[in-house]
Structures are given as structure tokens and as C-alpha cells.
């Protein structure tokens, strides 16, 4: 349906090719979250892998920082329509977490769980093979609490609501179990290139 008089602002081709459908480029780093930043104290911070209720392995901040490090550089896409190019993150890859826990993924799905009780679901296949990490640095610095520090999930090939802030653990689930936004009409998978913003997209 054409909107009378709307022309729009076209991106240069090199930018347009990097923007998923319906997205626009921003130089800012917008902040979106459901409530206030939780208070997360590094001296009591723990990160826990669980299968259902059963803990598989848990790390203190010191132990976590001693794990092998991974860097990732690239573009991120938020379901609220902004994209940000050339972001740089560092942290511990999901593969390295599993290796340190001396386990294979016990199920095909998990829920990322945050200190503010936020949750989001991601298939394990989207985390392995270097596709995701628990990030503790952004642009070479510790991640600011506004952006999910001390540690957040980073799954850059999915809409950024999947990259849960203030991460406290990953819980393997038997089935693909909807998280906070997925229960409220957001897409279960969230691929920006297929514009999977909401259920039914």
C-alpha cells in the first residue's frame, strides 16, 4: 500500500546491503530493557549452566575471566528497528563454556536467564560453532551496566533481544520454551534477515 507523498531516505548501496529489511542505521547505542538495571556485584556474581533445575557447572567472576577469550566484530540488529555496524565484543564462546564444563549440550534448546529475571530462548544450534558468546567486554572496555555488563549473551545473527543483558546463566530445556518477550508476541527465533519480529512473521 503506497503512502501518498512518502519518499523515504535511501541508504547508500554498501549500507543498504548490510541492513536487514525494515532496519535503519544508527550511530548511537540505544538502550532497551524492561526495568531498571539490576545491581550486580562481581564479588558474588556467578554464571551457571543448568539442565532443567540441575546445575552442570558454575563459575565465579575470577574463574570466568580465566576462561579462553574470543573476540567478535560485526553488525547488530534490534527488533525496535535500529542496527549498529562494526561493534566489537570479547568474551567466552559458548563452545569454550561447554568444553570447560566437560559436557556436550544435553538438549537442543536453552533459556538465557538474567539477574533482572528476564529470559529468552535460543536453539543450541545457534550458539555452537563460534556463533555466540557470553560477552564481558565491548569496544575494549568492561560492558557498561546500561548495555548488560558485567556479562551478557551475544548472539549477533539474531535480533538483539536474544542477547540477554546481565546474564546469570543458561538453562537447557527439553523443548523450545518461550522467554519474556516470546510470551508477549515476539518471534520464537528472531532472524533479522527474515524479519522475524513477531509471532507469525
Amino acid at each position: 500500500m503506497v503512502t501518498r507523498g512518502f519518499v523515504g531516505r535511501r541508504q547508500p548501496p554498501e549500507t543498504g546491503a548490510r541492513l536487514p529489511p525494515g532496519q535503519y542505521l544508527t550511530d548511537d547505542f540505544p538502550i532497551l530493557q524492561i526495568g531498571p538495571n539490576p545491581t550486580v556485584d562481581l564479588s558474588t556474581w556467578r554464571f551457571t549452566l543448568r539442565e532443567g533445575a540441575r546445575p552442570i557447572k558454575s563459575w565465579s567472576w575470577q574463574e570466568f575471566e580465566a576462561l579462553p577469550r574470543t573476540a567478535w566484530h560485526g553488525d547488530i540488529h534490534c527488533v525496535t528497528k535500529w542496527s549498529k555496524f562494526d561493534t566489537g565484543w570479547e568474551g567466552v564462546s559458548f563452545d569454550d563454556l561447554l568444553a570447560d564444563a566437560a559436557t556436550a549440550a544435553p538438549t537442543g534448546y536453552l533459556l538465557a536467564e538474567s539477574y533482572d529475571d528476564y529470559t529468552t530462548n535460543v536453539p543450541v544450534a545457534d550458539l555452537v560453532g563460534g556463533r555466540a558468546m557470553v560477552a564481558t567486554r565491548y569496544a575494549g572496555e568492561p560492558i557498561h551496566p546500561d548495555h548488560g555488563g558485567p556479562a551478557r549473551l551475544l548472539v549477533p545473527h539474531l535480533y538483539f533481544w536474544k542477547s540477554a543483558k546481565w546474564l546469570k546463566g543458561l538453562r537447557f530445556t527439553q523443548t523450545d520454551t518461550a522467554g519474556f518477550w516470546e510470551l508477549r508476541g515476539y518471534h520464537m527465533y528472531g532472524d533479522p534477515w527474515r524479519e522475524q519480529r513477531y509471532l507469525g512473521d
Partner: protein, 245 residues
């Protein structure tokens, strides 16, 4: 008599046509648009919609806008759009849109940032600039159906001239029916920013809020959340929504 059965239907947001049926200036930078559309029959105060515009060659742009109105059976809803510098979609709304124009909408989106009287109160709202729009919808819902629930709005804005719906808010405040407006103008003589004293004053009159909604720029929402948490309000009752970078 029907028994109470909880039915969870999957929420599916589909694009639907919407026609602009009225346009009115609100402030020098904000206009109100009343649109006729199907989703106007089912939304909660505080929710937003996605708006999509399509150019002749098929190019599309989408943005999210909060709903300012409450359901009133008219089959229409009100959006308020602030003209942003170089705004691709807001620019069309502020400079080009006319009554009779058609756009596409989908939603309502954002169930966690929404309120109805059955969610409880007292209700503490804090807004910066155009962040007041979804909170205005909550206050309108309160007037419409839940006037007994105490409410307060802390509204930070640069100047009175830029305050959205100020006559309506001041009238509600004057009528004294359980609502207080705490206006903080940041760029006027004798103005102030939101601070601990302002929050304490609002809480003193309101009592302990069961629901808190904060909306505005990053900086405003960060500052207001910190102040409200520092005043002893449980983070779990606070919901936030932020605009832009």
C-alpha cells in the same frame, strides 16, 4: 453465567491499513494523529504500534509510536508524533501527512509496559519529553475507569511550551481527584531537573506505588530509575521504556 476460563491465544501482529481522520498540533514539535484501524478495538494503555510507510517504488520504512488514547468504542486511536531532525518517518508525519492519507499499522505491542486498573496502584509515572505519551494513555484510562486509584506523574520537559497535553494534565491536577502533576521544566527560570527531593515529594503525597512506569530518553530513564530505586521502591515494580540513543 459463564465461568472464568483463562484462554491464552497466540498474539499475532499483522499489518493492517489505517486512515488518518484528524490531525492536531500538540506542541511546536508534536502533532496528534487520529487513525481509524481495526486494532483500535483491542489495546491496553501504554502499548505502542509499529507504523509502516511505503514509497511508490516499494521502499518501506517502519517506526514504533506509543498510543496516546484509550479504547472508546470509536474504532480509532491517537498517536502523537514528534518531528525529529532528519526523521524519515516522523518527517513524513509532520510535514506531509493529511487527513485521508493511509498508512499501515500493526500491534498493539509491548504488553509489559501497559497498565489497567486491575493491575493495581497507586500508580507512579515518570516521563521525559515525548515519553509522556504512553503514560498519558494510562492516566486517561484511570480517569475513564479507575478514578479511585491514586496516581502521580513526574514530568520533565525543557519548557512549558514543549509539554504535551499540559492543559489536560493541569486540569486533572486541579480537580484534585487523587492525581498530582509534578512538572519539572529544565530550561526555564526557576526550573529544575528530576532529583531526590522531587521524587520524595511525589511519594509522600502518593504513598507507596505498586506500579511504576518510566519513559523518556536514555538519560532521563536512567536517572529516574536510579532515583526511584534509591527512594526505596522495589525494582520489580518498575517498568521502563526508552526512546532513541
Amino acid at each position: 453465567m459463564s465461568s472464568a476460563i483463562s484462554v491464552t491465544e497466540p498474539i499475532v501482529f499483522r499489518w493492517q491499513p489505517a486512515e488518518i481522520i484528524a490531525i492536531a498540533p500538540v506542541t511546536p514539535w508534536v502533532k496528534s494523529f487520529r487513525l481509524r484501524c481495526d486494532l483500535a478495538h483491542n489495546y491496553r494503555a501504554g502499548q505502542h504500534v509499529d507504523v509502516r510507510l511505503t514509497a511508490e517504488d516499494g521502499y518501506q520504512a517502519q517506526r514504533s509510536y506509543s498510543i496516546a488514547s484509550v479504547q472508546d468504542g470509536s474504532g480509532t486511536l491517537e498517536l502523537m508524533v514528534e518531528a525529529l531532525p532528519d526523521g524519515e518517518v516522523s518527517g513524513w508525519f509532520s510535514l506531509c501527512a493529511e487527513v485521508g492519507d493511509r498508512v499501515e499499522l500493526r500491534g498493539p505491542i509491548g504488553g509489559s509496559f501497559s497498565w489497567d486498573g486491575s493491575d493495581g496502584g497507586p500508580l507512579l509515572l515518570a516521563a521525559g519529553g515525548s515519553g509522556v505519551v504512553p503514560l498519558l494513555a494510562m492516566l486517561r484510562r484511570r480517569v475513564q475507569a479507575w478514578p479511585e486509584i491514586p496516581a502521580a506523574l513526574i514530568y520533565s520537559v525543557r519548557t512549558r511550551q514543549e509539554a504535551i497535553a499540559l492543559p489536560e494534565l493541569e486540569r486533572l491536577d486541579r480537580e484534585g481527584a487523587g492525581f498530582d502533576l509534578h512538572l519539572a521544566t529544565t530550561r526555564e527560570t526557576g526550573g529544575r531537573r528530576i532529583d531526590a527531593a522531587l521524587v520524595a515529594g511525589a511519594l509522600l503525597r502518593l504513598g507507596r506505588p505498586e506500579k511504576v512506569f518510566i519513559c523518556g530518553s536514555n538519560r532521563f530513564v536512567g536517572a529516574a530509575s536510579d532515583l526511584i530505586v534509591a527512594a526505596g521502591i522495589a525494582p520489580g515494580v518498575i517498568r521502563t521504556e526508552r526512546f532513541g540513543g
